[in-house]
Amino acid sequence: MCVTRAGKVVSASHGRARVEFFDGRALDDVDVSVVDAKTGTFVEVFGNLALGVLSPAEARRRRQAWTEVARALGAPRK
């Protein structure tokens, strides 16, 4: 099942981007054309499509949530 994942665009070109997610993973070739995201933008990704842009405050909240999950699990996620 697909879950939405929040992350940061670390590089972008022609509507495609590499996104590093707060869960520690990353995806290349995310389609960011719908949200017109640039490098440094926080995005919400569904499958391989960025559907939303997150404010820095919301991004901090999401990152903190993942940190707490990783701590609760006893080991950081990859």
């Binding site: 099942m1 697909c2 929040a6 559907l51 939303g52 842009v53 999950v69």
Partner: protein
């Protein structure tokens, strides 16, 4: 624990995992087990690491008083069956807040409030409602190209189904109804034929033939459905679309 429930679940979880969209990095284990028709403890442990799918199974199983991998449980989640109707709204609400990692609590509240507690713990509803509550810039005024992409990802991510018209090597020609997005919301298109991948090493695809109805996830044929399952997935998908369109008709659902 019924082995066929494990494999049924694995078949539907396989493709998004292999694409890196969810679940653990299991280095090909799911595919090997599916091809070997093996349902062992190692596969179960892998499936338990999926961030959303496994918690959903636990929710449905608890409400129905069944084991998590009883066939009817993943069937309810991926395809739809009456077990969905047995999940108390209060349990699903609490689950949505506490079990789905990283989901915005405000969006969860919006979904339940706007739908008067009728949200089902069905995979397709989860997929479609995720789009409906995403912060899409320009909201309903997105361009046609953006709509096409959004409808495409929703269509790929939900479990769709179709009737096999032709069997080719590694590819099925399947008559399907895709998801469409326009001013009226989500809907299904008229039937059209598209190609999906399949793995003949995975049972029962070695014997798949024209006329079979298959479930599809990310353009991959997961399983051959029974007539009952084909009716159920159509029925539950229609219900999901109606609910999500109600959600989207509210400005609140878009914020």
């Amino acid at each position: 624990m019924k082995a066929d429930g494990v494999l049924f679940h694995a078949k539907h979880a396989f493709m998004p995992n292999s694409l890196g969209y969810c679940g653990p990095d299991e280095k090909g284990q799911i595919q090997r087990d599916l091809e070997g028709d093996r349902s062992d403890e190692e596969l179960v442990q892998t499936l338990q690491k999926f961030e959303a799918a496994y918690p959903f199974l636990k929710l449905i199983a608890k409400s129905a008083g069944r084991q998590v991998f009883d066939y009817s449980v993943p069937e309810a989640y991926w395809i739809g069956n009456r077990l969905l109707d047995q999940v108390p709204v209060s349990d699903f609400y609490s689950f949505s807040h506490h079990e789905i990692r990283g989901r915005d609590p405000k969006k969860v509240q919006q979904v339940f409030r706007r739908l008067d507690g009728t949200a089902p713990p069905h995979h397709t509803f989860y997929v479609m409602s995720t789009y409906a509550t995403a912060v899409v810039p320009d909201g309903p005024n997105v361009t046609n190209e953006a709509r096409r992409k959004i409808a495409g990802v929703v269509d790929d991510c939900r479990i769709s189904w179709g009737t096999v018209r032709k069997v080719r090597k590694g590819e099925l020609q399947v008559e399907v109804r895709r998801v469409s997005l326009d001013d009226g919301g989500l809907s299904l298109t008229r039937p059209a034929v598209k190609s999906v991948r399949y793995n003949p090493e995975v049972k029962p695809f070695g014997a798949v033939r024209a006329g079979d109805v298959v479930s599809i996830h990310w353009n991959y044929a997961c399983d051959v459905l029974t007539q009952r399952q084909a009716k159920n997935i159509a029925r539950y998908t229609d219900a999901d679309i109606r609910l999500v369109n109600r959600l989207m008709k509210s400005d609140e659902g878009r914020k």
